[in-house]
C-alpha cells in the first residue's frame, strides 16, 4: 500500500535532493522546555507508590533517574506525560509543569501534553502494521497533522538521521518495522517520538533489552539530541547514567513504603561525592 510512495521517497533522496520543505517548518524552541515535577505522589488503587517527589528538569539537559526496581521510577516518568492515568485505578497528586504550565490543569487536553512530551519505552514497540517510513510519521497521522508528501520525505529522513538510523534503513523504508533488529527498532521508536517535535523526551530503560553495541548507538543518539530536547532517562546502568546525563536523581523506596527521591544533583557530584550515605551505597553497588 505504501510501497509506491516509499519508492518515490527513496528515489528522490537517493538523487540527493533533500527536501527543503521540512526545514522550513517552524522548529520548536531548540533545546526543549523546562519540565518541573512539584510534590508529586502516586497511587495504584489504595497503595501509594510515590510520595512527594519534586524534580526540575531544565532544557537541553539529560536527567537520569536511577534506583532499584520497584521504587517508582517508571511511575514517575509516566506521570510526566500523563500516561499514568491510563492505568485503571491509578491516581496522583501534585503538579507537573511544562514551561510553567500545569499539564494536569482542568482544560488541558491529555493528547496535547503527550504530544509535547514524547516517550520511548523499555521494549521497542514499532507498529507492526506499518512500514518503517510510516512508523516514523505515525505520530502525525495519529494526531491529525497533515503534511505534504514532500515534507513527509524530508521529515522521515531528518528524524531517522537524528535517531542515527537513516544510513541503515534508507534502502528499505517500505519494509515493516519488525524486520529491524532490536536496537534498530528502538532507534526507530526514538525517530517516531521525534517526528512530532516534542519538547521533552522521556525514556524508560531504553537500552535494557539491547546488546552493548546498540546501547552505544543509542547513547550517542541521546548525546546528539540533548542539545535539542529535554531528556529524562531511567536506567539501571550506573555507567550509562554517568556517560549520558548531566544531572541525576536517585529513587529509593523502603519496603512497603512509597518511593521518593533520596538525592538529586549534577551527575558528577552524585557519583563522586554523594551527600546521602544511601546514595554512596547504591552507586557503589552495595545494595539495590
Amino acid at each position: 500500500m505504501t510501497t509506491a510512495t516509499d519508492e518515490a521517497l527513496i528515489q528522490s533522496t537517493a538523487d540527493g535532493q533533500i527536501m527543503s520543505g521540512w526545514s522550513e517548518r517552524a522548529p520548536s524552541p531548540r533545546g526543549g522546555a523546562r519540565l518541573e515535577a512539584i510534590e508529586v505522589s502516586a497511587w495504584f488503587g489504595q497503595t501509594q507508590v510515590l510520595d512527594d517527589v519534586s524534580l526540575s528538569m531544565p532544557p537541553a539537559t539529560v536527567t537520569a533517574l536511577i534506583g532499584p526496581s520497584g521504587c517508582g521510577k517508571s511511575t514517575f516518568l509516566r506521570i510526566l506525560n500523563r500516561m499514568h492515568e491510563s492505568v485503571p485505578g491509578a491516581q496522583l497528586a501534585g503538579e507537573v509543569r511544562l514551561n510553567g504550565e500545569d499539564i494536569y490543569a482542568p482544560g488541558q487536553r491529555v493528547t496535547r501534553a503527550r504530544k509535547r512530551i514524547g516517550m520511548v519505552f523499555q521494549k521497542p514497540n514499532p507498529f507492526p502494521a506499518m512500514s518503517i517510513a510510516d512508523n516514523v510519521t505515525s505520530g502525525l497521522a495519529l494526531t491529525n497533522i497533515r503534511i505534504s508528501r514532500g515534507d513527509r520525505r524530508g521529515l522521515v529522513e531528518d528524524c531517522l538521521n537524528r535517531a542515527g538510523l537513516w544510513r541503515e534503513v534508507k534502502d528499505r523504508l517500505g519494509a515493516p518495522g519488525s524486520v529491524l533488529s532490536g536496537g534498530q527498532q528502538q532507534r526507530l521508536c526514538i525517530a517516531r517520538a521525534l517526528a512530532v517535535e516534542p519538547e521533552v523526551l522521556l525514556m524508560d530503560e531504553p537500552c535494557s533489552a539491547l546488546d552493548p553495541t546498540s546501547t552505544r548507538r543509542i547513547e550517542e543518539t541521546i548525546a546528539e539530541l540533548s542539545s535539542q530536547v529535554t531528556i529524562v532517562i531511567v536506567t539501571h546502568n550506573m555507567q550509562q547514567a554517568h556517560r549520558v546525563s548531566q544531572q541525576a536523581a536517585l529513587f529509593l523506596a523502603d519496603e512497603r513504603a512509597p518511593g521518593g527521591i533520596v538525592e538529586c544533583g549534577p551527575t558528577e557530584q552524585l557519583f563522586s561525592n554523594p551527600v546521602d550515605p544511601r546514595t554512596a551505597d547504591y552507586v557503589d553497588g552495595r545494595f539495590g
Binding site: 519508492e7 506525560n81 509535547r116 514497540n125 507498529f127 505515525s138 505520530g139 495519529l142
Partner: protein, 365 residues
C-alpha cells in the same frame, strides 16, 4: 520500476575440500524400518488368511480394524526383542497416533472428495450453473434446470447477514475490549452465552416473531436476520480475542505520541488485529453459508431465480440440498450433490482466503 539496486549479495565461497553436511540426528535406523514394515506385512498376511475364517463377518472396515490390531501386537513383539520397554511404548504410541491422523485426514478427505465425485454428474452440465428450477420438475434430467436461484439466494442472504453482523460484531468487540465501562462485563457474558444458541433456535425465533406474529412472508431477509443472530456473537467474541492480543505496548506507544483514543483504535489497534478480525469474519461467513437449519425454517424455497430478499421466498444452497435429498429421487440427489459441491467450493475459497490472510500475518510478525 525501482531505482534501487539491491545491495550486492556477497557469495560465500564454498569451503575448499570437505564440505560440512548436516548430520541426520534421531534418524530412523534400518533396523527400525525393518521391524515396522515387517510387522505391517506379516500382520497383513495373517489377517488376510484368518479374517474370513475366524470372524464370521465381512466388510473392508472390519478388515482394516483387525489388521491394525494384529499389527500392533506383532510390532510390539518384534520391538520388545531388542528394545527397552519405554521405547516399545513410544513406538506403539507413535504408530497409533499416525493411524489416528490418517483416519481423521481420511475421513475429512473422503467427505470432500466424495461430494465432488458425486457432484460431477451435475457439474458437466453448464446449464446447472446458469438456470433455475422454475418449471422444471425435480425428476427432470440433469440437463434441464439448475441451481442458479440457490447460488444467488445464498450469496444474497449471506451478504446481508455479514453486512449486518460485521459492524455490530466488531463494534461490540471494540466496546468490550477497548472502551469498557460499567456494562462491558454483562455484554461479555451475554455475548458468550449467545454463542451457545443452537442455530435451529435462532431460526425458530425469527419464524415465530417475524413470520407468524408479525405476518411477514418467508423470505431471504428473514433468513439473514436469523443468521445475524447467530453470527454477531461469534464475530464479537472472536474479534474481542483478536483485539485483546494486540500488545498493550502498542496502545501505549500510540497514546504517548499524543493520539486520541479513537485514532489509537483506528490506526494502531484495528490494523494490528487485521488478520485476526478477517479470520473471525471469514469463519463466521463460512458458518453462515452452510447454515441449513435457519434457511429451512425461515426462507421458504423458491424454484425461480429472485434477487429480492424481502417479499418472496428465496432458495439457497443448503436448503436446495436438503429438499432435493428428501425426494429420494436419484436425479434430485445428483442435483443435491452438485449443489453441495458448489457449497463446498464456496467454503473452500473462503478457507483459502483465511489461510492467505493468516500467512501474511506470519511474515509481518
Amino acid at each position: 520500476m525501482t531505482t534501487i539496486t539491491s545491495a550486492p549479495v556477497r557469495e560465500v565461497a564454498p569451503p575448499v575440500g570437505r564440505r560440512a553436511i548436516p548430520r541426520k540426528v534421531q534418524a530412523f535406523t534400518f533396523d527400525d524400518r525393518l521391524s515396522l514394515f515387517g510387522s505391517l506385512a506379516s500382520s497383513f498376511a495373517l489377517v488376510t488368511i484368518g479374517y474370513d475364517h475366524l470372524l464370521d463377518t465381512s466388510g473392508i472396515v472390519g478388515f482394516l480394524v483387525c489388521w491394525y490390531f494384529v499389527f500392533l501386537l506383532v510390532y510390539a513383539g518384534v520391538l520388545s526383542m531388542s528394545n527397552t520397554r519405554a521405547l516399545v511404548v513410544e513406538r506403539l504410541v507413535t504408530a497409533t497416533l499416525y493411524a489416528v491422523a490418517a483416519l481423521v485426514v481420511f475421513a475429512l478427505g473422503s467427505a470432500v472428495l466424495y461430494t465432488f465425485f458425486q457432484g460431477w454428474h451435475a457439474f458437466v452440465h453448464f446449464g446447472f450453473f446458469t438456470h433455475d428450477m422454475s418449471g422444471v420438475s425435480p425428476t427432470a434430467p440433469l440437463s434441464q434446470g439448475g441451481i442458479l436461484q440457490a447460488i444467488a439466494g445464498t450469496v444474497i442472504e449471506v451478504a446481508i447477514a455479514v453486512g449486518v453482523s460485521l459492524p455490530l460484531g466488531i463494534g461490540t468487540a471494540i466496546y468490550m475490549s477497548e472502551v469498557g465501562g460499567r456494562w462491558s462485563r454483562l455484554v461479555q457474558t451475554v455475548v458468550e452465552a449467545m454463542t451457545a444458541l443452537p442455530e435451529i433456535l435462532a431460526g425458530l425465533f425469527v419464524y415465530v416473531t417475524l413470520i407468524v406474529d408479525v405476518g411477514l412472508p418467508k423470505s431471504g431477509l428473514a433468513a439473514s436476520i436469523a443468521m445475524s443472530v447467530t453470527m454477531v456473537p461469534i464475530i464479537a467474541r472472536a474479534s474481542e480475542v483478536a483485539l485483546r492480543i494486540v500488545p498493550r505496548g502498542l496502545r501505549e506507544a500510540s497514546s504517548a505520541l499524543g493520539a486520541s483514543h479513537w485514532k489509537t483504535v483506528r490506526k494502531v489497534v484495528l490494523p494490528s488485529a487485521r488478520s485476526g478480525l478477517a479470520t473471525a469474519t471469514i469463519l463466521a461467513t463460512a458458518r453462515g453459508i452452510g447454515e441449513t437449519a435457519i434457511v429451512l425454517i425461515t426462507s421458504g424455497a423458491s424454484s425461480f431465480l429472485t434477487f429480492n430478499p424481502i417479499g418472496n421466498p428465496m432458495n439457497s444452497l443448503p436448503l436446495f440440498i436438503y429438499t432435493a435429498y428428501t425426494t429420494h429421487e436419484p436425479v434430485a440427489i445428483a442435483r443435491a450433490f452438485g449443489a453441495a459441491s458448489v457449497l463446498l467450493l464456496m467454503v473452500l475459497v473462503l478457507f483459502v482466503a483465511t489461510r492467505f490472510l493468516s500467512r501474511e500475518k506470519g511474515v509481518a510478525r
